[in-house]
Structures are given as structure tokens and as C-alpha cells.
Symmetry: D2
Subunit: 320 residues, 4 copies
């Protein structure tokens, strides 16, 4: 009997913005995410095939920053066990009632290595509104009104930590949350620089990279998956039509072997990675982490770009 | 000194519909053509990169049928010479004043082999309206609002004639209008069945196929070109979302080597072929027509489908 | 604590052929699978990113037919527990020594509902030979020598059973092997006709469809996954170059939402489904099966083709 | 009566290499061009759908450099008239006998603005050898053995000149050779920097850009067209497998709106631009040149990259 890891999947990310309308212009009109629900302060968005209520929550608070990263657990029991484990090790656990959140049930919140994580199991899976429903039962929104980018589902998050914190954070994801280490990058200084972890068959659900000692723990990007390389290039076209400069790409990663385009919401400063193309799926129960070094990557071309440019600031966290 | 053929390119097709609103739902909302101008009775549409005022004119007249097929000449002189030639051979020429038509200057109209053809040289090339203009100078409409099908330009027309008429019609296109025969299909009866003609570098600007003796001269389809195979499959997706059954495809033609999807406007009955993919361009000044026979095509698969099913009716012409 | 299902993934299919050279022409030269190892009688093949020793075993035995379908278990313990469970319920279990098989360790073999299944955990993961190794650490074979189809990984199997057997077989996959039912199809007679099951994030790892009462239990197809729709159309091109008529497609399934092309090895009669395109990945821990009916599928177009034509015979099993 | 321009199309480029075997490894094994004919010193290559005998001639001469750029005329008479015109203006014309060249008939050679141009009309159009012939009559080489890049046809050349020479060269292409100016780029100094000319429906058959005063007249790149964006990214994959760093791309040009990847043959230093994607075709008989300025291009992203990096040396010409 092998036990499942407590985490089933990445759930959503909650962010702050100084201007909700401006952020919705970017995420809805330009990128093509769907607004499931909105009130004065907060909008809930998802991609065309995200089954949950939302995968991105945007709150107008006058600030830029990330509120939390949320994972869905593999069962209600797994959620309870996580809470017990955190309590046992002395981590402060905030219990969030179901009525404090839209779209999912009760949650727990902890801050680990400077990153606010939430965990929940129960979810709402709202259908598309009348007139927007796909005629296909295994879809949600109709293909007719989808734009040419058409993000299909949430893919992964990427965060950053200073030196030792990065290593401890990586160890915690493996040891306590049950993530599998798929790939890692060893920098020229002989130390690990980045870790790509998955609890699903994706190349990664969360990645961490290392910043210089003393750097704050920050959020780097949230990724949505597109259907094809064509959609990724449509994204580049549409961004150029709208006068938005991408942060990087289009290109193809050597690590994860996926096609990417990075772009940040001008209002919130929150970075999205549009992800497409082959990548790979990993079903092996005995996967050995793949280690890359500078000489493996072999060059500075965007085609094998490791994932960070010189002025790639992360985004800080905002206290709730 | 070699002289240019009198025809520069396919200009547009004008059709009738019993219900303009219904037809515009199909051509604009579903297929993604742009309405350049519209009054109570008539709408003028074009694809995203059609430089002329329109490539499809739709008139609500209570009838189904095609009004005319229009070619743009290679110069004003070529238009005059065409008129003179028609007069000289005794063909009735209707001179259409510039103010009788929107989007182009004076035209001449002749009926040849049962098909009403118009020719003109002067054109309007309206820009996209404010807010819809592409930021790229070599585009017209912005990529942002283009749907996932995004027809890019008019491609070709395909017409049909009974037996002997088809042969004479084909000879006229070559001899009088200067079209080059790129490919032809010889049927099992030893007679030519289809001809693919071009005056541009496209595999064809106009094709003719043969119907049984006594059949009327009819219009088979107008084709628009898409950027990629992905857009063609998006078309299939969107048609299925909207409950519209394609007439055929997606598939790949052996002749012309292009990817196709046929679909008819439910209101007007007018058939569109969405065209995409490699095809070929032909710049050779001494091209020898390629002849295909049944055994070359080799099978009934849609992948090498010749282009006509058993119940593929053409559409008749409507007297203006 | 939630336990993992005993099965981690589809491992391979073993088949018979009257002519190994002919079958290798089809699978290696035409489709682009890689031969990992071969002796006089047997060849072991895999796709470009299959980590295991092989995903297709072909044995020249003078017969056509399938030898067995093999799944890899999620742990060595899971393999033992499966064996114990089979013994406990009175199922005959054949214990296969590691030295009787190439590429994996000890296995158990049972015949369930007329289908020979094998299960194993230990595997060899041979690298590509010198000169064929990809420069990318998360690939196996180099992109340079890959053909234009380039199957990337094994995807799923599809089997068929008569009436009641199909239902019992489907129940067994769920109840004993821990597969999740992702989608099902209810035929016009009100009875379920097909079931799509997964133990991974794929739309399905194994599907079953129902044949008329009294029909034998047979194997329908093995599927390999391609990187894109373009590769699927390259497959159609290459098959037509080689004079091989596809069994169906290219088309897009409504169920599973994947792009497909079916084609059978002329020598062995074994059917492959080339699979590409969006499909979907399913990470939800509480998935509710999607049920389709004839009216949902909506038509006979290849674009929403359910997956079986009138003359689609399955392939029988061969006693080892 | 409008006369055709004397030039029908770009024919081929002839280059020198210090190592023919090394150059053939790059052009044939890596890029996927076909060797039509080869002797000890010279190889003749073409793309999968190039109808002429060759579109690239490579001669081992111990040097790096371009021998000549060749255009095919629109008729035999046009070739004679070109020669007469050159003689009349006092340009030295070298008459090249048919037996001095493989694959085409008699040619004339002139040096204009430092660039050696050849013109010819008669051509050989050899078929593919047995076993490599496509089953499709409008193809040459079979899809089965084509690699994943699969250049399909020669597209254009790009050359460079110092300041005033560039302007005169551009004027000559228009006035004497009949090229149409499709697009031009005006640099920040208010002067034109680049010109994109076509005599076919392509965005350009030849482009010129301006170098600082005193710079030599050099050759910048020869372009081959691929069928799709997917093939362009396969090129990037294969180059990275082979350890060859691209000179630039993949990216999408604003001018010409085509997708590109630049890469140079390590042996000859000769630069190829792989070209793919939408671009546009131009059939208008009254095209007005599109002028771009720095502010139109809008940024330094590769997506709208103009086409030249700081260290992009051209390649000199070698005296025959």
C-alpha cells in the first residue's frame, strides 16, 4: 500500500492590484481568462478548462503583491492531517472558514519560508453562464468566443528564496508535502540553483530558484497552459498589438522542455508565464531527478533559456 | 517583352441571401470576416488582410444565388482592352458606372458560359476603423479581436459546368484571360474532369469541374485562406459549437496540396472553403500542367479527397 | 491517508506478427518508433520519450494477435498485493520470472474477461545508443534523426467485449485496479457503450467498448502520443506516400477531445491510434464521470467521430 | 498592354566553402536540403519543392564567400533584352555558356554595386531519384524521408551596401529590373535603412540594408521557406541538438510579418534564414510601399526584431 501525497494539485493564486479594472483589462481582454465572479473589490478568474471556481483571485487593495498560493489536497483527510502536522511541528496555522472564501470550502493557511500557502479540499465547480457554455461536455466555455491566446488551465507557480532558505524550502516541499523532484539546475558555483517539483504528471507544479543571501522570499510567476505553439505566438502578436512588452520569449526551455512567453500585468506587476508545446508528462513511480549544469544548457539563446533575466524581480507578498 | 495577363487577381464575389442578419451571423460572428460597410439591404465584408473594400458582397433579395464573380485587372488599360475584345467577339458587355458599385470604380460585366463575370481596376482600400486598426502597418485589423478562425485573405473560386461547356470555359480562361493551367484531373472516362487555373502564384485563383451533360452552370465555392492548420481545426471546433455541420473536411487535397474545410452559410446556401496549410506557390514562367488520374489520388480518404461529394450541389446565379 | 491505486501506468503491449521485417518496416521506418533491441524472433520498440525498455514487443510467430497488455504497478508492494488479491479470489496467476522477459523484472499474468494482462514493477530504462542520444537530458533520442511523425510516448489501449462482459470488465478496472472513470458513452439503446478509464492524468489509459452479445473479447488499438496536430498530418502525408490507407482520421474526438489517426500494420493487422493535440489533463481528486449520448456527439462528422466504424474488427489474443 | 518585369524569380545562390563535406553536413544532414548532384569540388542542392536543378551551389575553393546571386528571367527574350540594356549602359557583361553551368542554360553575369548577379532563362527540372520520389505529382521528394525542418523552397536573398550605394542599388532594382518596393524602413537619422523588393507575390525576393559609409558590399543571407511555425521550432531543436548556435530567432518580423530563424554554416560562414508562418502575399497591381520607422517597430523584442544585430557581419564576394 502506497499512500498518495497530501497535495492533489495547484489550486489558485490570490493577488493584489492598485487598479482592478486595469488588471481585468489585462487578464480578461488581452490574455483571455474568464471572469467567473466579481464584486467591487475582487474578481475571480479562470482559464477555459479550469474546473474549479477560480485559479486567479485579484483584489483591489491599493497595493501590488501576492496574497497567497493555494493547493488543493487529495482528500478531506489529507487536509486535516496537514493541519495536524503543522500544529505538531509548531507552525502557526490560520483556519479559514468556508464563508471567508468564495469558490472553496474551509482552508488552512501557513507561512513557510516567507511564502503564504493555503490548502483546501472542497471546491465549487461552476459551469459557464448561459450562452457561453461549450457544446462539448468535457469543456466549459465555448470555443466560439475564446480569443486567439485561450489559456486552457492553470499550470504551475515559480517562487524564489535567498540561498539557504531556497534549499530548506525545497526540502520541505519534498519531505512534508510529498512533491517529487523532477529536474534541478546546478549553477557554476557548484550549488543547486533551481528545483522543479511535481505532485501531478506535469514537469512541475512548483519551482524554486535561489537568489543571493539576504534576498526576500518572493513570487516569480504563475503559469497558464495554452493548447499549442500557435497560441503562444498569437499571444506575442496580441501583446505587441496592445503595446505590452513581454518579459521574455517566445522561447523553449531546456528544463521542462516547454515553450514559454513571460508577461506582467502592467497594473499589478504580477507575472504570468504562458506555457505551451510538448513539454513532457511523467508517470514513472521511480523517477530519478535530472540534473542540469551550465554546460548542459549550452548557450544564452532564448531557445534554451534557463528562466531568469538580470532584471527579473520577483513580487513580494502582501499581508492579508 | 512579355505582356502581363489582363487579370491581376480575384476581386470578390457578390451573393444573394433571403436573410441578411442570418448570413451576417454566419460570416461575421462564426467565420470571423469583417463587415466594412452595411446598409439595409447589402453588407460588404472582407478578411483580415484583404486590402480592397470587400471580397464578399451580400445582398438581401429574398433569393439564394450568386450575383457575380469579379476579377481585378492588372491595369486600367487592361480593363479597356478586355472590353474591346469582348465587343469585338460579339459578347454583350454591360458597362457599370462607378457610382453603381461600392468599393471600386467602373466595371464591365459579361456572361460567359452561364457565369456572370465582372472586371474592374480602380479600388478603394479603406483602413480599419479606429480601435480596430492593427498596430502593424502591413496588417489591417488588430490581432486582438480576431477570432480563432481568422480568415486572412480571399483565395479562389470554384465553378462547375456541364460537359462541353466546362471545356470551352477552361479554354477561354486560358486563351482570353491569360490564366495558367497549373493542375488538371482526368476522370476514369478518359476525359478531363477538373482544371485549376492561376494568374497569381497561388495553386489556383479559379477552378472548374465538369458536371453531367445538361447540368446548369453553377457556382461551387469561394475560398478564404487561414494562417495555419490550427486555425482550420479551430474552424471545425467553432462550427461544432454552433451546430453547423461542415460540407466536408478538415482534410488535405492532393491537388493543390492545401488543407481544407467546406461549410455553407445556412441562410444563403453559399459555400465557403476554408483553406490553409502548405499548398505551394508557383513562380515558374514555364509551368507544365500536372495531370492527375484516379489512380494517382489513390483512395477515398479525406486526406486526398478530390473535392466533391455525391450531394454537392452548386449554387445557381441570380439575375441582377 | 489516501492510498495510491496499485497501477502507475500503462507499460507495453506484446503482439505477434507473421513477418517481423515487414512489421518493423511499418513501425520503425514509417511510424518512427525506435528499435531498442532485436533478435531473430522478437523486436522491442519504444517512442522517442518512452523511458522504459520498450512499449511495444513484436514477436514473429506466424500468427496475428495480441499476446498481452502490461501495466506497471505503483510500487513493488503493489505488485505483491495484486498477486495476493488475484489468488484470494481464485484467479489463476502465472508468475513470470525476470529472466523470461527483456526490459523488466518479474511479472504476474492473469486472464481477465478474455484479456491477458501482465503486471510488473521493476524496469530497465536504457539510454539511446551513442550517436542517437539527445543533447537534452530530459529526452532520450535526438531530435535530429526523428522523422516527421515522431511518436513521443505510449498513450493508452482500447479493448472490446461483448455486452455483459464489457460491464463486468469496466467494473473490475475501477474496483480492483483503481482506475477512475473519466468519460462514458450511453448508446441509443439506453445502455452504456463505452468507458474511458485513467489512473494517470490522461483522459484515459484504457478504454472499453461494447460489442454485440457473443462477440469475442478483443484488442482494438494501442495509442502513441505525438507532439502536435502538425505531426498528425505529417503522419497522414507519410501514410499516403507509402500507400497505406488509414483506418480513420485525421479527426478530433469529442470524447477525450484529442486529435486522432488510426492505422494498422499491414503485416500484423495490429492497429495504432496516433494521438495528438489538446485533449485535457485531469488532476481533480473528485472527478465526476462525464456521460455522452448520441445527441451530444451530434453528427457523423469525423470531427466528432466516436471512434468506431462499421468494419472495425478488433484483433484476437494469441495464447503464449 | 502591361509588360511583365524581366525577372520571374530568384533562382539560386552560388557560394564557396573551405570544406565541402563539412558544408554538406550542415546543409544536407542538419537543415534537410537535398543534394541533386555532386562532384569532387561542387555540390548542387535544393529544397523539397524547388523545381529547378538547384537553388544553392557550393564549391570547395579554400575560401569563404559568395560567388553570385542568380535570377531566372520571365522569358528568353527578357534575358536578351537585359543583356542589351546592360551593354547599352556600358556595364561589362560576361556571357556564360550553357556548358559552363550545371542545371541551367546560357547566362549573363554583371557586377552591380559590388554584387555579382547572374541571369538565365532555360532550366533543367530534374525529378527525384527512384525511391525518393513523392507519390504526389505536385511534390518532388517524398514526405517519408524529409526531416523535421524540411525546407520547402528558396524564398529570398538579403544583401548590404554602404550608404549611397544602397540607395543606388535599390533604385536599380526598381528601375531596371522591375522589382516592386513592398516595404521600407526609415532609421532614426531620417534616412532609409532598408528596402524589401518583390517581383513575385512574396513579401520580398530581395532586400537591401544600409551599412555605414565605406563598408563593403556584402551578402547577408539566403532564405528558405518552411511549411509551418512547428518546422521552424524543430529547426531550433535540431540546431541545439547539433550544438549550432543560431544567429537569431526564432522570432517574428514586423516587416514582412514572417517567422524567422537565422543560422550560419560553420564551414562556409554562409548565413541561412529559415522563414515560415503567415507573412503575406501581395497581388495588388498598385501597391504603395509601407514605410516603417523606429517608433512603429516598437521595441527590441525578438518578436518584432528588424533583422540585424550588432555583430552581424555580411559575407564578401569571391572572384570567380
Amino acid at each position: 500500500m502506497t499512500t498518495k501525497p497530501p497535495i492533489a494539485k495547484l489550486g489558485h493564486v490570490a493577488i493584489h492590484t492598485p487598479d482592478l479594472d486595469e488588471s481585468l483589462w489585462f487578464f480578461e481582454d488581452v490574455l483571455g481568462l474568464y471572469v467567473v465572479e466579481r464584486d467591487d473589490e475582487t474578481a475571480y478568474l479562470r482559464a477555459q478548462r479550469d474546473w474549479e471556481h477560480h485559479t486567479l483571485r485579484i483584489t483591489e487593495s491599493g497595493q501590488q503583491g501576492v496574497d497567497h498560493i493555494a493547493f488543493r489536497t487529495s482528500s478531506p483527510e489529507a487536509l486535516d492531517e496537514l493541519a495536524e502536522g503543522f500544529e505538531a511541528e509548531g507552525t502557526d496555522v490560520t483556519y479559514v472558514d468556508a464563508d471567508e472564501r468564495k469558490g472553496h470550502g474551509e482552508a488552512i493557511r501557513v507561512e513557510k519560508f516567507g511564502h503564504p500557502y493555503e490548502f483546501y479540499y472542497d471546491v465549487e465547480k461552476p459551469d459557464a453562464p448561459d450562452g457561453e457554455r461549450s457544446g462539448l461536455k468535457n469543456r466549459i466555455y465555448s470555443e466560439t468566443d475564446t480569443n486567439r491566446i485561450a489559456p486552457r488551465r492553470i499550470d504551475h507557480v515559480h517562487v524564489q528564496d535567498e540561498d539557504e532558505t531556497a534549499k530548506e524550502h525545497a526540502a520541505w516541499l519534498q519531505d512534508e508535502l510529498g512533491f517529487q523532484l523532477n529536474e534541478q539546475y546546478r549553477a557554476g558555483d557548484g550549488e543547486l540553483w533551481g528545483w522543479w517539483f511535481a505532485v501531478t504528471a506535469l514537469p512541475h507544479d512548483i519551482a524554486i530558484h535561489r537568489e543571493p543571501a539576504g534576498s526576500p522570499s518572493e513570487f516569480h510567476h504563475l503559469s497558464y497552459h495554452l493548447d499549442s505553439l500557435h497560441d503562444l505566438w498569437s499571444a506575442a502578436d496580441i501583446l505587441s498589438e496592445e503595446g505590452i512588452e513581454p518579459d521574455g520569449g517566445p522561447g523553449r526551455h531546456a528544463i521542462t522542455r516547454a515553450d514559454f512567453l513571460y508577461v506582467s500585468d502592467p497594473a499589478s506587476g504580477f507575472r504570468i508565464e504562458l506555457f505551451a508545446g510538448p513539454g513532457y508528462l511523467n508517470f514513472e513511480p521511480d523517477w530519478e531527478p535530472i540534473e542540469w549544469t551550465e554546460s548542459d544548457i549550452g548557450g544564452e539563446t532564448s531557445h534554451q533559456w534557463v528562466g531568469q533575466g538580470p532584471d527579473w524581480n520577483g513580487l513580494g507578498y502582501v499581508d492579508e
